[in-house]
C-alpha cells in the first residue's frame, strides 16, 4: 500500500513509473479494482499533462495538477479544445465542467464568452 507514496518525486518520468507500479499493485487484489482504475487514470492524466506542457512550449505548468485543475488551466490559457478533450477523456460530468468553465472565464474576465454561456 505504501508503494504509491513513491509518487512524490521530482522527476516526471519517475512519477509516472511509480504510479504505474501502484496500479499494478492494486490490480493484484480483486477488492482494489477501484484503486487500480484510479491509478490508471492518474497515469494517463500525467501523460496528457506532459503532452500539454510540450504543446504550450513549457510555458504553462500542468504536471501534477488534478483533472479539474487541468481543465481550468486549459481554459484560462485559451486552450478550450484541449479542455473539452480532457473532459471527454475523464468523463468529467457536465455539472462540474460548467462550474470550472464559469470560474475560469471569470478569472480571465472573458465576458464575451460568459455572455454566450
Amino acid at each position: 500500500l505504501a508503494l504509491e507514496e513513491a509518487s512524490r518525486m521530482t522527476d516526471q518520468a519517475a512519477v509516472v513509473t511509480s504510479v504505474k507500479a501502484a496500479e499494478k499493485f492494486f490490480s493484484e487484489d480483486k477488492d482494489r479494482s477501484f484503486e487500480a482504475k484510479m491509478m490508471d487514470e492518474s497515469a494517463r492524466l500525467l501523460t496528457i499533462q506532459q503532452q500539454l506542457e510540450k504543446d504550450s512550449d513549457g510555458k504553462v505548468k500542468f504536471f501534477g495538477q488534478s483533472v479539474s485543475e487541468t481543465v481550468h488551466i486549459c481554459l484560462v490559457n485559451g486552450m478550450g479544445k484541449r479542455a473539452d478533450k480532457v473532459k471527454a477523456e475523464f468523463k468529467v460530468p457536465d455539472k462540474r465542467f460548467w462550474y470550472i468553465k464559469l470560474h475560469a472565464l471569470t478569472a480571465i474576465r472573458d465576458f464575451v464568452s460568459l455572455e454566450a454561456f
Binding site: 500500500l1 505504501a2 508503494l3 504509491e4 507514496e5 513513491a6 509518487s7 512524490r8 504510479v19 477488492d31 477501484f34 484503486e35 484510479m38 491509478m39 487514470e41 492518474s42 492524466l45 501534477g64 495538477q65 488534478s66 483533472v67 479539474s68 485543475e69 475523464f90 468529467v92 460530468p93 455539472k95 462540474r96 462550474y99 470550472i100 470560474h103
Partner: protein
C-alpha cells in the same frame, strides 16, 4: 466571572510553571552561550510556557529551526530540542557530520520531548555520532491552554493512533496523567470508553516509571479528583466532522487557532486611536453590512485567552448566532460608561472617571477585536458552500433523504468546495448511514480524486481502512473482516437513546441554551453526552436547564446558583450500560485503590465526607484530541450543578479540518519513513 460560583478549582498554573522551570533547568545544564535549534512543531507549545526573552536570559544566543541543511553556529554549545522522530535525528546527525568534516568544534546536547527513546540513540550510533551528543529529555507534558483546559499540544496524536497504529502517544498520555495524579491526588475511579482509551486506563493502573512531579500537597488541594473519564476520539467521530458553531469553534474552523494563537489583521490589534464615545456602535456587525475583506494586510499572532480578555471569556462558548447580540450589548454599556464623563460635574467625579478610563479603553480594545473577528467570520458563514455544507450535515444527522445528500456532496465538489470540507461530509455520510451504497461511493470517490488530485487516494484508503473505518461501503465487500462490521456505530439508535438531536426551535435556541446541543444548533455531541452519563445523569434524559430557566432571561443569572442541584456522586456508567454496549469500543470502569502510603489519609476521608459540600473535580481526557465545541459544551454541563468541576485534558485541540489535513499529509513524506518513536 461568567456566573461561576465561588467554588475553588484546581490551580493548573503550577503545571505551566513546572514546564517553564524544567526548560530553564535544561538550558542551564549547558554552561555558557548556546545556539538553540528547535523543532518547528514545538514552537507553538513552548510559546505557551515561555517567551523568547526568557530563553535569551538563560544564555540562548541564536535560535534556528531544525531543518535539513548545514547549521552555522557561532557558539560552542549547540542545543537541539525536538520530538523523538527519526527524520529529526537524521538531520541532526548530518549537521554534526558536516561540522566535523570542517573540523568545527561544537558541543552538542539533544533534548527530546517528552522523553528519550532508545531508538534515537541507536540511530545516532548508526550514524556514528552518538559519542558527540549528550542525549537528555525535556519532559513537556500538559500545558494549560485555558483556566479549565490542559493539553499536550500534540497535533498528530489522532493520525498516529488510528492511521499509523503507533501507540506511543498512549504511553506518553499515561505518563502525563500520572503526573496529574501525583500533583493533585489520585483518580479514585477511572471510567471510559474506547479501545485505545481502555489501553490507556490499563497502563495508568500499572506502576509507571518515576517522574519528576510538581509537588502540590493533595491534602490542601481545593477540589480533589473524584474520577477520570477517558474517551478516545474514535468513540465519537461524528462531532469533529461537524462544523463547529460556537464563537471560538468557528474561529478555529474559519480562521484557525493554533496553540491558542489566532492570526488576525494587525489593524484589529492596534489600540483605538481615539475613543469615540459618540458612535461606538458604528463598528457593530449589524450596522456595517458591507465588509471589504481584509486581504494582504499584515497579520499578527494574537493569543486568545480568557484570562486577559474577559470579553472573550463571555463570548467564546456562545453559539455564533448570539455573538452579535452580546457584542452590541457590551457596546451599548461601554457607550453609557463613556457618557458618564459628560455627566461628571465635580472634580471628584472627573477623577473617578479618569481612574476608570484605562479599564474602559481595554474593554474598548477588546470590543474592537471581537467585533472585527466577527466581521471576518460573518461573510464566510454567508457563503453558499458554507450553508450548503451545514444543510447536508443537518440532514445527515437527522437521517433525512440520505442518498440525496451524496449527490449534494458531489455538487459541492463541482462548485469547488475545499477538500477537507468534502472529506468530512463523506465520512459523516458514511458513519450516520452505516455505509454508502457501492455505486454511489465509487462515483463520489472518483469525483473527489479528479477534483483534488489522485495523490489523495491514500487519504481515502486510510479513512476506509480499519481501525478508522469511517468511509464504508454498503453492502460491505465479502472480504471485509467481520470486526469492521461489529465496529459500526448504530447511529439512529444512539441518536434516540442519547437524545442527540433536539428539535430546534430557533427562538428558544437563542436565548435559552437549555441543552448542550446549542453548540451545534440542535445537535448534542456524543462525547459530551457520554460524560453526562457519568457525571450528570439527568442531563442525558432531559434538559436540566428547563427547570431553572425561569429565573433569568439569559439562563445564567445570579439567582440560579442557589437552585442548582448538588452534583451526584460518581457511580460509573450506571443506568446507561445498555446504551454503552451498543457503541463500539471497550467500556470500562476501574476503581483504583489508594496507594498504601496515603491510603489512610485524605482521599478516603474526603470520599467519606464527599456527599456533602466538598467540591470535587472530574477530569476528562480526550485521547486523540477534542474540539472547542466540546469544551464549550462541557463547561455548560459544569455550570448546571454545584460541587463538581471539570478539568478537560486532551492530546490536542482538533477540528475536522485539522484531522483531515493530518491524515492527508501522510503521503507527503515518502516511503519507508514511518516516524515511530519506540
Amino acid at each position: 466571572g461568567l456566573g461561576r460560583d465561588n467554588e475553588q478549582s484546581l490551580d493548573i498554573e503550577v503545571l505551566k510553571d513546572a514546564a517553564k522551570k524544567a526548560l530553564i533547568n535544561a538550558l542551564n545544564s549547558v554552561n555558557g552561550a548556546k545556539t538553540l535549534v528547535l523543532d518547528p512543531t514545538l514552537a507553538g507549545p513552548l510559546g505557551l510556557v515561555t517567551e523568547v526573552a526568557l530563553l535569551k536570559h538563560h544564555g540562548v544566543d541564536k535560535m534556528f529551526w531544525l531543518e535539513p541543511g548545514p547549521l552555522t553556529s557561532t557558539t560552542t554549545n549547540v542545543i537541539y530540542l525536538c520530538r523523538p522522530l527519526i527524520k529529526y535525528v537524521k538531520i541532526i546527525a548530518d549537521q554534526i557530520k558536516i561540522h566535523s568534516k570542517e573540523s568545527l568544534k561544537h558541543r552538542y546536547t539533544l533534548f527530546l520531548v517528552p522523553r528519550t527513546s532508545t531508538l534515537v540513540s541507536r540511530i545516532l550510533e548508526e550514524e556514528g555520532v552518538l559519542g558527540d551528543v549528550t542525549v537528555s529529555s525535556y519532559n513537556l507534558q500538559f500545558i494549560p491552554v485555558a483556566e479549565d483546559v490542559i493539553s499536550l499540544e500534540y497535533d498528530n496524536a489522532f493520525k498516529e493512533l488510528w492511521v499509523d497504529g503507533d501507540e506511543t502517544v498512549i504511553y506518553n498520555s499515561a505518563l502525563a496523567l500520572d503526573v496529574l495524579q501525583k500533583t493533585y491526588g489520585q483518580f479514585p475511579r477511572i471510567i471510559g470508553k474506547g479501545d485505545y482509551a481502555s489501553k490507556l486506563a490499563t497502563l495508568l493502573t500499572r506502576p509507571l516509571p518515576e517522574q519528576p512531579s510538581v509537588s502540590v500537597d493533595p491534602l490542601t488541594s481545593p477540589a480533589p479528583f473524584d474520577s477520570l473519564i477517558i474517551l478516545d476520539r474514535h468513540v465519537d467521530m461524528i462531532t469533529p466532522l461537524l462544523t463547529q458553531l460556537t464563537y471560538e469553534g468557528l474561529i478555529d474552523e474559519l480562521i484557525g487557532i493554533k496553540n491558542s494563537h489566532v492570526e488576525i489583521p494587525l489593524s484589529l490589534l492596534n489600540p483605538p486611536s481615539a475613543p469615540n464615545p459618540e458612535n461606538p456602535g458604528a463598528s457593530l456587525p449589524s450596522t456595517s453590512a458591507i465588509i471589504t475583506p481584509v486581504l494582504n494586510e499584515k497579520t499578527k499572532k494574537h493569543v486568545l485567552s480568557a484570562a486577559t480578555d474577559p470579553l472573550f471569556a463571555e463570548l467564546r462558548d456562545l453559539n455564533f448566532s448570539s455573538v452579535g447580540k452580546r457584542l452590541s450589548r457590551v457596546a451599548h454599556r461601554l457607550d453609557e460608561d463613556y457618557k458618564a464623563r459628560l455627566q461628571a460635574k465635580t472634580v471628584a467625579q472627573l477623577r473617578d472617571f479618569v481612574g476608570k478610563l484605562g479599564g474602559l479603553q481595554t474593554e474598548h480594545q477588546a470590543l474592537k477585536l471581537h467585533t472585527g473577528l466577527s466581521e471576518m467570520l460573518v461573510p464566510r458563514t454567508r457563503t453558499n458552500l458554507f450553508s450548503k455544507s451545514l444543510e447536508i450535515q443537518q440532514n445527515l444527522v437527522a437521517s433525512y433523504e440520505t442518498s440525496a445528500q451524496i449527490s449534494a456532496i458531489e455538487d459541492m465538489i463541482a462548485q469547488g468546495a475545499d477538500m477537507q470540507t468534502v472529506a468530512r461530509l463523506l465520512c459523516l455520510a458514511s458513519i450516520t448511514t452505516g455505509g454508502i451504497k457501492t455505486r454511489a461511493l465509487e462515483n463520489v470517490k472518483k469525483e473527489f480524486l479528479q477534483a483534488y488530485g489522485y495523490h489523495l487516494l491514500p487519504l481515502l484508503l486510510s479513512l476506509s481502512a480499519p481501525p478508522l473505518s469511517i468511509i464504508l461501503q454498503n453492502p460491505p465487500p465479502v472480504s471485509m473482516s467481520p470486526s469492521v462490521a461489529v465496529n459500526k456505530l448504530p447511529f439512529t439508535a444512539i441518536r434516540k437513546s442519547l437524545r442527540l438531536l433536539i428539535d430546534d426551535n430557533p427562538e428558544a435556541l437563542e436565548e435559552l441554551e437549555n441543552d448542550i446541543s446549542y453548540v451545534y444548533s440542535g445537535y448534542a455531541p456524543i462525547s459530551v453526552r457520554l460524560v453526562q452519563c457519568v457525571a450528570q445523569k439527568s442531563g442525558v434524559i432531559s434538559n436540566p436547564a428547563e427547570k431553572v430557566s425561569v429565573d433569568t432571561p439569559d439562563g445564567k443569572g445570579k439567582g440560579s446558583a442557589s437552585k442548582k442541584l448538588f452534583a451526584h456522586p460518581i457511580v460509573g456508567w450506571k443506568g446507561f450500560e445498555d446504551i454503552l454496549s451498543t457503541i463500539p469500543g471497550q467500556t470500562f470502569d476501574i476503581v483504583q485503590k489508594a496507594p498504601a502510603a496515603t491510603a489512610s489519609r485524605a482521599p478516603s476521608i474526603s470520599s467519606l465526607l464527599r456527599p456533602h459540600e466538598q467540591t470535587t473535580t472530574t477530569a476528562i481526557f480526550f485521547l486523540g484530541g477534542c474540539t472547542y465545541t466540546e469544551i464549550a459544551a462541557l463547561r455548560w454541563v459544569g455550570r448546571q450543578n454545584r460541587g463538581r468541576k471539570f478539568l478537560i485534558a486532551t492530546t490536542g485541540i482538533v477540528s475536522g479540518a485539522s484531522l483531515m489535513k493530518s491524515i492527508a499529509n501522510d503521503g507527503k513524506r515518502g516511503p519507508g519513513k514511518r516516524d515511530t518513536t519506540i
